[in-house]
Symmetry: C2
Subunit: 217 residues, 2 copies
Amino acid sequence: MGISREEVEQLDRLVVTRKRVRRGENLYYTDDRFHSIYAVRSGFFKSTVLAEDGRDQITGFYMPAEIMGMDGIGTERHACDAVALENSDVCIIPFAKLEEISAKVRGLQRQFHKLMSREIVRDQGAMMMLGSMRAEERVAAFLLNLSQRFVARGYSPSDFNLRMTREEIGSFLGLQLETVSRLFSRFQEERLIDVQQKHIRILNAAGLARAAGQEPC
Amino acid sequence: MGISREEVEQLDRLVVTRKRVRRGENLYYTDDRFHSIYAVRSGFFKSTVLAEDGRDQITGFYMPAEIMGMDGIGTERHACDAVALENSDVCIIPFAKLEEISAKVRGLQRQFHKLMSREIVRDQGAMMMLGSMRAEERVAAFLLNLSQRFVARGYSPSDFNLRMTREEIGSFLGLQLETVSRLFSRFQEERLIDVQQKHIRILNAAGLARAAGQEPC
DNA sequence: CGTTGCGTTGAATAAGGTCAAATAGAGTGG
DNA sequence: CCACTCTATTTGACCTTATTCAACGCAACG
């Protein structure tokens, strides 16, 4: 988007290669030397940071067309672990090449900056959720967020499979897995969603949005 | 750092201008059209995002030499409010110019990318704090983080004035102001810090680090 | 001085966390 | 194909932590 035909040819020079990552494997580890960023082509990832005392926190989930690894640019080492939640494919985008070419191709430079900025805004949204929403609101907002991202990728917004466990959802939301489970059950009782293990159907998106505190009461 | 003499000359073309922002005034508002990023020269800022229902969350505090406004690049509108906590000075860095020149000056491009990446990593650290630390740990970690940032700027690491209220600290940490106040009192009883209103003296940094869960118990 | 905003402290309460037990699936090897 | 195992999930009971509500103190300022 926003780049010309000849610019596209330059893009080919990015010599993007592909890589398979099996479920449970790391795409990269914290402190790994940074060389590339990664575009998810298929599959699902989580990124986790771990504290000195061993606790870890999931800082994001990544689905196709999303970019991972920009955490590594600042220190030239990755600042989190990236783990595949299912068998996945990524494009490896060598960062030195990307910088070189984006210096020539204005549209690419712009796109890349926007991408990084959106990651910042996304994280700030997560901070808002963690800092000022109650458990019920977080879980509702989480489901709506997933829904929106699925629909943007051509999948159903109201019918999808969770790729992560209750514990992983809890880690991302700053809750215990039991709390997540209870809220799923509660939303089901209230006919907002239908839960069948990892399979979620959203029955009442407006109701969920209300539960997320995103609508007038 | 990392840029040559002739590159420095190019930098002058950034035609950086300055701006005063008085205590309580906004440097920018959410949804303001994005044109520039800002380097804090003197003073102190907070950035806040607000939810649909009016609640707001402080997503960061900014002190001299830190950069604000990168949240606006992605959508070309700012995603948060930036408010001065005391009379402050900023450098206005026109973003179009910055992109133009950083395309030519390799060192500048690199520095800018690192800056954005560090902002991502910083936010992920905040997410970890909000998601997986207890109130006591958050407050201790907050004080240590401030201390580190002060010392990096040539101020005392153990003797400083808070520029923000208890309520603002609470908002940033996802706690109520009373909880913050109680923990300050508790740390004082434990001789970890000395609190006199907004004036903080860190008496036992190792003890604080332990309270932050950053050290072996 | 009275006012106002900020900070501290106490008591009661509610929200989530912790612990424990039961259940349900998915995958494995016979 | 079935029994078995292991892990993920659900649910209940109880407990801890932090919030809420309220009162009071303090300092700055007109």
